[in-house]
Amino acid sequence: MNVAIFILFALLCLGGALNLLLQRHPINSALSLIVVMSSLSVLYLLLGAEFLALAQIIVYSGAIMVLFVFVIMLLNAGEEERTHGSRAAYFAGIPGVLALFAVLAGTFVTLRLSFGGTRLGAFLVTTGDLSRVLFRNLLLPFEVTSVLILVAILGAVVLARKEH
């Protein structure tokens, strides 16, 4: 059961990510990214992060991606133009990405025995556990992030405002 759910949603993730790469219209890319994010939230549930799973849906699928879709609709972005792009990106970048993936995957696979397995319910972080750490041990970073968000809002307002 665990394995079946994992495989289903991992495939959805990979399919969505590849579709993001292959689609030419930004709105299709945005929708495939929403699929990726929502299936990731199911994987979070499998890993016992119930609060984060729903935060993923609310923050990523429900707020950030709505902003993306909103901007795509506002600017009426059309199909992507095929231009040559940077040569360095193709000749150094793509092999670099493959090498990166090979190194990461190789490392993980060689270490597979020490990692072992997990299943639903093996480890559960409730909202209470998470907030206890967040509001007792990490209160200062939490407050600082609120300042960060305030600065970001101001920056966004100033940047997007029309010049008079």
């Binding site: 119930e50 699928s61 429900g62 707020a63 879709v69 909103f70 609709m73 506002l74």
Partner: protein, 348 residues
């Protein structure tokens, strides 16, 4: 526990809840037409069946048999997908709402589909994903009225979601849990006096929730996404037949869900307004069904309020809508959270 019976009973429960929910959606439409008719000094639908009670059936049949028009310049995949997203998001959230006491039969919770630790977050999450139905329908229709309607609607829903989320925090602080059953159980002790809206002093939060919920469901006085006088019909201008019916059902399903959530969070869920004032009567079946009756009554009065407001208030202007959300609701929601947490810190 017998696994096949467990699975079968669960499937049956889902089917029954879905059917009742869809029937409720259909009859909410009739309720609205009847009540608005009475408010405007006319009869409302009265021809089909006694008192027009079969009108939803006739409407459904009409929408089902209409020609399904597909305008030529639309973005087809999204145009078809948008109403499906809207309707499915509207139907999902009913799955976490508790209708009655936790009574188990063969290990199956009879009055709730899924009892989750994070039930409240699920409702907020599903609501926030439901925006895509409206946003994509407007964009894919390739029509300026639809696009304007959907842009307005996405901006409106994103803005009011903040106030909605903040208004709920007071209740969560009181309960210390996101489980909807815990939230109701806390209000279950002394009847109406222990409901969050009165005993919990969350009446400001209830007002904020009410306004934000009206805006989230695109209802008067915040029905700018489909303002007939400016945008023909807003985001669903280009839709016809079943695709239009799906948007229509989604709107009313959202109204019912919002009513259920308001009942659970502020009005004591299935608990009786009299507490234990009157002695229990009837057999175990009546004991199990009485809470459901209270629940339905509360949701019904919430829907009544919806229609009443629609029959009474005029529509806001767009800048008034945004100003109301950001400059009025959001600050008082923050103040309410601060006040609630201060009270809980010193007296809780």
């Amino acid at each position: 526990m017998n696994i096949p019976i467990f699975v079968l009973l669960n499937l049956l429960k889902v089917a029954v809840v879905t059917v009742i929910f869809l029937m409720a959606v259909a009859y909410t439409v009739l309720l609205e037409r009847k009540l608005v008719g009475r408010i405007q000094n006319r009869w409302g639908p009265s021809r089909v069946g006694p008192f027009g009670l079969l009108q939803p059936l006739a409407d459904g049949l009409k929408l089902f048999l209409k020609e399904d028009l597909m305008p030529s310049a639309v973005f087809r995949p999204l145009f078809i997908m948008a109403p499906i997203i809207a309707l499915s998001c509207a139907l999902i959230s009913i799955g976490v709402i508790p209708f009655g006491e936790n009574i188990r039969w063969h290990g199956v919770d009879m009055f709730q589909i899924a009892d989750l630790n994070i039930g409240l977050l699920v409702i907020l999450g599903v609501t926030s994903v439901g925006i895509y139905g409206i946003a994509l329908s407007g964009w894919s229709s390739n029509n300026k009225y639809s696009l304007l309607g959907s842009l307005r609607s996405s901006a409106q829903m994103v803005s009011y979601e903040l106030a909605l989320g903040l208004s709920v925090i007071g209740v969560v602080l009181r309960t210390g849990s996101l489980r909807l059953r815990d939230i109701v159980n806390l209000q279950n002790t002394h009847g109406i006096l222990s409901w969050n809206i009165f005993g919990g002093l969350q009446i400001v939060a209830f007002f904020i929730y009410l306004c934000a919920a009206f805006a989230e469901t695109n209802r008067t006085p915040f029905d700018l996404p489909e303002a007939e006088s400016e945008l023909t019909a807003g985001y669903h201008t280009e839709y016809s037949s079943m695709k239009f019916a799906m948007f229509f059902m989604a709107e009313y399903a959202n109204m019912i869900t919002v009513g259920c959530v308001a009942t659970v969070l502020f009005l004591g869920g299935w608990s009786s307004p009299f507490g234990d004032l009157f002695p229990a009567f009837g057999g175990p079946v009546a004991q199990a069904l009485l809470p459901v009756f209270w629940f339905v009554l509360k949701v019904f009065s919430f829907l009544f309020l919806y229609v009443w407001v629609r029959g009474t208030l005029p529509r806001f202007r767009y800048d008034q809508l945004m100003g109301f959300g950001w400059k009025f609701l959001l600050p008082i929601a923050v103040l309410n959270v601060m006040a609630t947490s201060l009270v809980l810190a010193f007296h809780g």
